[in-house]
């Protein structure tokens, strides 16, 4: 496992968010993530995990607190939002592949349109990435023709093709059949060994134990506990964490 450096990639301080219907989903959530670090976020359903990581690439706005991503201060300035999104990739629970594009085109779309790179060069890279996640032979197919596990691996490759410095995962294995979970986790584990910074919302305890540098528990819109995996699972300091672990272990 590579060791994280001391450089801060994500710094979220006391973030508060209200949804338009008035519901407060984040109540002062804070988190710092260093470069190369793999942080797993756990917590009960509705605790604000998705909302929290979606603020990191400005898919959700927030009303109080501050977030800095790779040195860029997130504000409502549109130029900043575009800059952040180029540096931060995201993998969704529902894959969200573009069904009208072939697998290869799913990968090349953004680098060509956003980074303005020549198509041929991006395609080379896309092939290499598909090779890496083990589905190069499906490059010409459409997402609807792939299994869930294959789709999620394509989604990871698609995010990687933008060469992000940070990858966010929102329950990447939750909508997969059990036998497909492993193939996706393996890909993620291989990624973790590299320089890339990862924030992963997941309920996969084994992944959290063996891959994460740090595990975080969220409850009611706050970060309750933050600890190294061993400590987190064997000797958490908060009552709330113990109750949560009792439920999932």
């Amino acid at each position: 496992m590579s060791q994280p450096s001391s450089e801060l990639m994500i710094e979220a301080r006391a973030v508060e968010k209200w949804y338009p219907n008035g519901f407060q989903a984040l109540r002062g959530a804070s988190l710092t993530v260093r470069r190369g670090e793999v942080v797993v976020i756990m917590g009960p359903s509705g605790s604000g995990k998705s909302t929290f990581i979606r603020t990191f690439n400005a898919l959700e706005d927030f009303q109080k607190g501050s977030i800095t991503v790779d040195g860029i201060v997130l504000s409502n300035d549109l130029r900043n939002i575009d800059a952040v999104r180029r540096e931060v990739g995201m993998v969704f629970q529902q894959f969200n592949l573009f069904p009208h594009l072939s697998v290869l085109d799913n990968l090349t779309l953004a680098p060509v349109l956003v980074r303005k790179r020549p198509k041929a060069e991006v395609e080379q890279q896309a092939w290499a990435l598909l090779e890496r996640v083990g589905i190069a032979e499906q490059a010409g197919k459409y997402p609807g023709q792939l299994s869930g596990g294959q789709q999620q691996r394509v989604a990871i490759a698609r995010a990687l093709c933008m060469e992000p410095r940070i990858l966010l995962f929102d329950e990447p294995t939750s909508s997969l059949d059990p036998e497909m979970v492993r193939e996706v986790l393996e890909v993620m584990q291989n990624l973790a060994a590299e320089d890339i910074t990862m924030v992963v919302v997941t309920h996969e305890v084994k992944f959290a134990r063996h891959v994460a540098h740090r595990v975080v528990l969220m409850a009611d819109g706050e970060v309750v506990e933050e600890a190294e995996p061993e400590l987190f699972f064997t000797n958490p300091s908060h009552q709330r964490t113990r109750r949560f672990l009792d439920q999932i272990l």
Partner: protein
Amino acid sequence: MNPLLRRLRAELFATRADAALSLVLISLISLAAIGCLRWVLTQAQWAVVKVNSTLFAVGRYPVEQQWRLWLLTALLVAASGATWGLIRAHPRPDRTGVLWPRNDRLAVGLLSLIALALPWALDLNLAIAGRWWGLTVLLVFCRWLAGRYGARLSPAGQRLAALVWPVLYLVGMVLISGGLGLVTVSPSEWGGLMLTLLASSFAILLCFPIGVLLALGRRSDLPLLRWGSVLYIEFIRGAPLITLLFLGQNILGFLLPGGLAPERVWRAAWVLTFFAAAYLAEAVRSGLAAVPRGQLEAARSLGLSYPKALQHVVLPQALRVALPAIVGQFISLLQDTTLLSLIGLLELLGTARTVMANPAFLGRNGEVYLTLAVLFWGCCAALGLGSRALERRLDPHAVPSAT
């Protein structure tokens, strides 16, 4: 037993009840068909159509300028043939393409048959019949050429080839109305099928972008934009087209910046456009609603700007879903052009009414209306065929990834 007979038996006469029902239906259909045919072949007097075929086609367009319309038809035919061939030469990447599928051979046979039969049925003189044959040969030739060599066209070349259509539209406008050295033919002299097609294609082309913008506006976060779109759509959908057409003749001259709608024809075309845009917006909105939220989020998280995400991710999927509804709108738009006759324009129906008002053709309404129905049916069938081809082309095994 012969397989066809066996199939007929299985489908029509499987049980006693089936057989009885089939026999009743077959006799009813035969009776109706025989009646129609008898009327068409023995009772109807087709002179009214034969004598006025030019009037039905182009209205009172000056005879010495009609070569421009023939030229335009030839260009359109060549472009259609080339497009048809190019589509066959570039099958979707995940499919194997057949250059001459059975349907295409059938279509060519049918078109040739029509080209041979029509001049005979209409008593066209040899010069004009020859032109129809020439057009048919041109179509098949371009179809063959593009199918044979189209595969060599690079993607950039394909995009360039698609530009032929908008360019052709502008060329057509010039050919029809004159200018650039050609004698001007004022819109008041346009008529017949040409005016019908011109008005409907103008409205179809322009209502499409307006309708998409309205649909996006209706879903926008900006309240002003949203309410503006809703107001517009609901106002237009609440008013009958005919009142809007009359209204347009009276006030459009004031609303549009000077010189944009000087002629009654153009005013009517704009009203059709604005009218169709409201309905189109609703069709597009249903398509947009069918695209999962995650698609926009995924595109945005990859760094695509909102317009780019719409253009490359959301709209292609939304329009694919909305395509049948959109084409339905186009078809009713085509038929709505008949209302132009009520504001005194001589499109197909208007032309038909002047013909029927002529004492020489008294009582020949049946023949005229049947001709009109067949012409409209032909245009709508062409639209429907095109849309089905497009639908098949846009549909991979596209099941949205979010279920």
